[in-house]
């Protein structure tokens, strides 16, 4: 089997260890002998004409986000097609904000999003920083660390990833964290997210492979350290 991953704006959105997500996706495929084609993308024109199973977009600083938002906005239709074609997208923090309709900073114009997720984000004066534990529908958990001042509001009917057991999540108000539409996942969780949430990493890999292959599950891996790290993080203080 083969999987193709695009790391969007890799040179720019490289803060808070988000590269750990790419490392995890690549390794968890390779450990199962799945071939990985990883492409580091610095501008979206580079994805045209290439099929990708997974797109990853990380968080960055405000300055970098401006440049990226302008570039990404030009490929709104492109990404609509990709999403309808069941591509998996994982977007963290700043990247997540750009999947909504817009990001409104304190000063200056709104940064356009690509409206894949029916949501918007506004800058706030509280910086939400600390450990996060998210509870999913099946009662399993995601653990990570958030660090953002943008507050994201989901439109009615948009599925969050889960409820925050610890931490602020999307906006510190409604108790939700992240958003999910089709195979698109946006979240504020750094940490990195995927290394110590291996089940979630595998969910993304499985959905990506199902675009091309008739499979229902992945070959299991031994996740002893991952599970220890996860369980320890579930018990952390804010």
């Amino acid at each position: 089997m083969k999987i193709s991953i695009a790391h969007l704006y890799a040179p720019y959105l490289n803060i808070y260890g988000d590269i750990g997500n790419i490392i995890t996706l690549v390794n968890r495929c390779r450990w199962r002998s799945i071939d990985v084609n990883l492409v580091s993308v610095s501008a979206c024109k580079e994805i045209i004409g290439q099929d990708f199973d997974i797109f990853f977009i990380g968080g960055g600083q405000d300055k970098q986000q401006e440049v990226i938002a302008q570039d990404l906005a030009k490929y709104k239709i492109e990404f609509e097609h990709r999403v309808n074609d069941n591509a998996v997208i994982l977007a963290i923090c700043g990247g997540y904000q750009l999947l909504g309709h817009y990001y409104k900073p304190h000063a200056g114009d709104k940064l356009p999003g690509i409206s894949i997720i029916d949501a918007y984000t506004e800058a706030s004066y509280t910086r939400m920083i600390g450990n996060v534990v998210v509870e999913l529908l099946d009662k399993s958990t995601l653990v990570g660390f958030e660090n953002h001042s943008g507050k994201t509001y989901l439109a009615a009917g948009v599925k969050p990833i889960g409820k925050v057991r610890l931490g602020a999540g999307n906006n510190g108000g409604d108790g939700f964290e992240g958003a999910n539409y089709k195979n698109v996942y946006g979240t504020y969780l750094h940490g990195s997210l995927l290394p110590k949430n291996p089940q979630f990493a595998d969910l993304l890999i499985l959905k990506a492979l199902q675009r091309k292959y008739d499979i229902n599950e992945l070959e299991p891996l031994v996740d002893e350290f991952e599970n220890l790290a996860h369980n320890l993080a579930v018990g952390l203080k804010r």
Partner: protein
């Protein structure tokens, strides 16, 4: 006489009593508490005690402690009396404790210079209370973003600290973020390394801080990269480029535990010897010499001061204890940690100890920006310890280090014992702790009978 009012006198006495008591009882290091209590009582105490003193401030992400320690040696070698927060407590509470300790009962401090290592976020506060005369900015890397939010924020804090044009700025010319700090018409002295003699030491696809030209906002490019975003930089779009440093370190050569180097100060060449390994310490030396140059110190005495410098505990000195060579290197952010990893030999026993207390940085995401891949062919076992040991184990596994060779020991004392056992007197035992693990280590080593030369 600093005209302390009665409340301030009381605060000073209480502070002094607390310093005495913490020393006596050894309950804590007592570097912050006395200042904290005294400032509660008399908020202007720092301002009063530091009034009219010549202040040298050291700030930036990495190298603050070592650079200020070097400066201390050079100033004293030149015959100056210096008060220095050498234990590295660099928040306002720690700075105030240092002043309380140095002051007599009338609030007078007998010294020529206050030498203060200052946390980036504390700098604006200090600067608004007392006139800083010299400010050394070492570098700006991502570090403790859980406190500062973003790297740009850290830079803005330093800019906020440059409150007027009377501060002479000693800036790292090779770091485009430091070099381009917004200042008024402050006098600037630049320091750096020599591009011709320092080979590109960039290891792997290390995460590099992006830098932008302050004139045209274009991304900075490099003629040569020395380390992370430090190098001979230029703007590909306009004429902006690295200024020629006033102080340059060239041709580093390791001689045993000593380094022999050449310094070019204001176009004149000097030979120097010091016992701090590595490229990063060359920057600390360069920054120290730049300040000495700004102060017009006697160069021979300054070089003597450098030669006598002993590294702080945990800042890459080589320790001999129980027939074992031990190297302890504080790790706290990707830039410094990756550099520390690049100097490890394959036959060493490694202990990595990761905590996530406030002083370590609560967010351990930085482990993923650090090049642990440098260890993927490491022959020996690696012991992981600290509160976040399993995150470290996961990181090593993903760096393709053989996971069966990872030993998880949460208790640092147990981990150290195992390290000694594994190393068995041979090779180096290499310990890489985060800050609060280093403090723990200090006590463990004291209990093992090690005599500290410099404490953190």
């Amino acid at each position: 006489m600093n005209n302390l009012n009665n409340l301030e006198k009381l605060a000073l006495y209480i502070g002094k009593t607390l310093i005495f008591l913490t020393k006596l009882t050894k309950i804590s290091q007592g570097t912050n508490l006395p200042g904290k209590v005294s400032l509660k009582l008399a908020p202007a105490l720092f301002q009063k005690l530091s009034k009219d003193k010549a202040i040298i401030a050291i700030s930036g992400t990495n190298g603050k402690s070592t650079t200020s320690g070097l400066i201390y040696n050079c100033l004293t070698a030149n015959g100056f009396k210096v008060v220095h927060n050498r234990q590295g407590a660099n928040l306002i509470t720690g700075l105030t404790t240092t002043l309380i300790n140095a002051s007599n009962l009338f609030g007078q401090i007998d010294c020529d210079y206050l030498l203060l290592e200052i946390d980036e976020a504390t700098l604006p506060n200090v600067s608004s209370q007392s006139q800083i005369d010299y400010l050394v900015v070492t570098n700006l890397f991502r570090d403790q973003l859980d406190r500062f939010g973003e790297l740009d924020t850290t830079k803005k804090l330093i800019e906020k600290g440059i409150i007027n044009s009377q501060i002479t700025l000693i800036l790292n010319a090779d770091d485009p973020n430091v070099c381009q700090i917004e200042a008024r018409d402050n006098k600037k002295v630049f320091y750096g390394l020599d591009s011709a003699n320092i080979v590109n030491s960039q290891t792997g696809n290390q995460t590099r801080e992006l830098a932008y030209c302050k004139l045209c906002n274009c991304e900075i490019a490099y003629h040569s990269v020395f380390y992370n975003q430090l190098g001979d930089w230029y703007c590909p779009n306009c004429n902006n480029k690295r200024p020629l440093p006033d102080v340059i370190i060239a041709s580093l050569e390791a001689k045993g535990i000593d380094v022999q180097a050449k310094a070019i100060i204001d176009l004149k060449e000097y030979k120097l010897t010091y016992s701090l390994p590595g490229l990063f310490n060359a920057y600390n030396i360069s920054g120290c010499l730049a300040l000495s140059y700004a102060l017009n110190l006697n160069i021979d005495k300054t070089l003597e001061g450098l030669l006598k410098y002993k590294p702080l505990f945990g800042r890459s000195e080589i320790i001999h204890l129980h027939n074992q060579n031990i190297i302890i290197q504080l790790i706290k952010n990707p830039a410094g940690a990756s550099l520390a990893l690049s100097s490890i030999k394959p036959d060493e026993i490694i202990i990595i100890a990761i905590n996530d207390n406030l002083a370590d940085g609560r967010d351990i995401s930085w482990l993923w920006d650090t090049q642990f891949e440098l260890l993927n062919h490491h022959q020996n076992k690696i012991i992981v310890s600290g509160k976040r040991l399993y995150d470290m184990a996961v990181r090593l596994k993903h760096a393709n280090f053989d996971k069966t060779k990872i030993i998880c020991l949460p208790d640092l004392k147990v981990a150290i014992d195992e390290g000694f056992k594994q190393a068995n007197g041979k090779g180096n035992l290499r310990i890489l702790p985060t800050y609060t693990c280093l403090l723990e280590l200090q006590n463990i080593f004291k209990d093992l009978g090690y005599k500290m030369s410099g404490l953190n």
